[in-house]
């Protein structure tokens, strides 16, 4: 019983059948169905013993073999086709492509001797290029990066916060969302940079809350968030722009 090692190698019932036929050196045009059926079933049993998931295709082939076997037992009528014919045709067709795939494998091996290099990427430096980021492409990290840029480049004053002291929250996401929504209704669009500049000094809490509010709004399908260039201002507007 040492052939169990090979069992999971079989790609499908055709490959298993071919294995049996080749092992027994059987003439494919005159398959002893009874013998092959027994052997085939033996294999299936083996597979089940090893708790392998026997695919339905294997079972179907077993049924086909048994059907052919029973047909062969019946007395033959004249002009009747050999019940094995269809199976043999299928087997041969499968075998043909199996051979071809082995041949193609050689081509694949051969082509692995040649090296090429990946495509170059041209960095986009021009800021006249308007880049519109659709809502789906915006993620938390991009917003985070903008946050960092804001802090660095715009030189916002950030209040020193005392450690280990809990405050009541001064800003609420809901309020910020309403603020933005109100501005959009009024002006048509909202600039993130300007919103920050409105206050003389802003706390980390406000910045974070505003960002959360924008994230919440980005879930809202009516909203569109875009940026004219990398590290540039973020504009929030409603989808249906006139």
């Amino acid at each position: 019983m040492n052939y169990s090692v090979n069992i999971n190698v079989f790609q499908g019932p055709f490959e298993l059948l071919f294995h049996l036929i080749e092992k027994k050196e059987i003439d494919i045009y005159d398959i002893p169905i009874s013998e092959i059926t027994d052997q085939y079933l033996e294999y299936l049993e083996e597979m089940m013993q090893f708790n392998m998931n026997v695919a339905s295709e294997f079972i179907f082939m077993a049924a086909t073999l048994i059907e052919i076997k029973s047909q062969l037992l019946l007395p033959k009528k004249e002009k009747e086709e050999d019940p094995r014919q269809e199976l043999v045709a299928k087997l041969l067709e499968y075998k043909m492509f199996k051979d071809v795939s082995e041949e193609l494998k050689k081509y694949e091996d051969e082509s692995s001797f040649y090296f090429s290099k990946p495509r170059e990427e041209m960095a986009l430096t021009s800021d006249t290029n308007t880049e519109q980021i659709s809502l789906n492409e915006i993620n938390v990290y991009e917003l985070y990066n903008v946050y960092l840029t804001l802090i660095k480049k715009q030189n916002f004053k950030i209040e020193q916060e005392e450690k280990f002291k809990l405050y009541r929250e001064n800003y609420r996401v809901k309020d910020c969302m309403e603020d933005i929504a109100k501005k959009i209704r009024k002006y048509g669009k909202v600039s993130l940079f300007n919103t920050f500049k409105e206050k003389e000094s802003i706390s980390k809490e406000y910045i974070v809350t505003l960002f959360l509010a924008i994230l919440e709004l980005s879930n809202n399908k009516g909203m569109k968030i875009y940026q004219d260039n990398i590290f540039g201002d973020i504009i929030i507007t409603s989808q249906e722009r006139k």
């Binding site: 055709f14 075998k95 492509f97 071809v100 193609l104 694949e108 051969e110 001797f113 040649y114 495509r119």
Partner: protein, 179 residues
């Protein structure tokens, strides 16, 4: 403009197989004259023993690659990576698509005798095959064909270069078969 010089630079920068159509658009020149020049360059490159690069043709695309003779040295230079060759199931499926294209998944499954959805999806992800439309039959099944990437992967310049089925059958002694 030195056309050969430009073509060489384009192929270097692009890296991957570059299609005649693309070049034709960029240079604003008819495709056939570019094809003629590139074919000329292929023999110039390949005949020059001092060169380490050759131009390979895959379908309507051209690519700069290294010479096979230098494989050994390149291999010593590069870190070894995972073997990128395809599984048996993928190879069988791909063969059927290559020779019977355009072909439906049902037809592939009929020949292989097993379900092929996963394998077909894998081949699409690898860019070796693509959907090319739907069959005008009940259910309008999707039909698949091979891509230029398939040709590149197997080092073929066109589908016509696929090995002849009859020859393979003769070699294997499986006898005469119709496809």
């Amino acid at each position: 403009m030195n056309i050969k010089s430009v073509l060489e630079s384009l192929m270097f920068a692009w890296g991957e197989p570059l299609s005649i159509n693309e070049i034709s658009k960029i240079l604003n020149m008819p495709a056939h004259s570019i094809t003629f020049t590139l074919d000329e360059m292929i023999s110039e490159f390949n005949d020059d023993e001092d060169r380490g690069l050759i131009i390979q043709k895959f379908g309507d695309s051209y690519q700069l690659t290294t010479k096979k003779d230098n494989y050994e040295y390149i291999q010593n230079l590069l870190e070894t990576t995972v073997n990128k060759s395809l599984s048996t199931a993928a190879m069988e499926t791909l063969s059927i698509i290559a020779y019977k294209q355009p072909v439906t998944k049902v037809e592939i499954e009929r020949i292989r005798g097993v379900k092929c959805s996963q394998v077909v999806k894998g081949l699409i992800d690898k860019g070796l095959i693509k959907e090319v439309g739907r069959l005008d039959k009940p259910g309008r099944p999707v039909i698949f064909a091979t891509t230029d990437e398939f040709l590149r992967h197997f080092g073929l310049s066109s589908i016509g270069e696929l090995p002849n089925i009859g020859d393979i059958q003769d070699d294997k002694g499986t006898g005469e078969l119709s496809s």
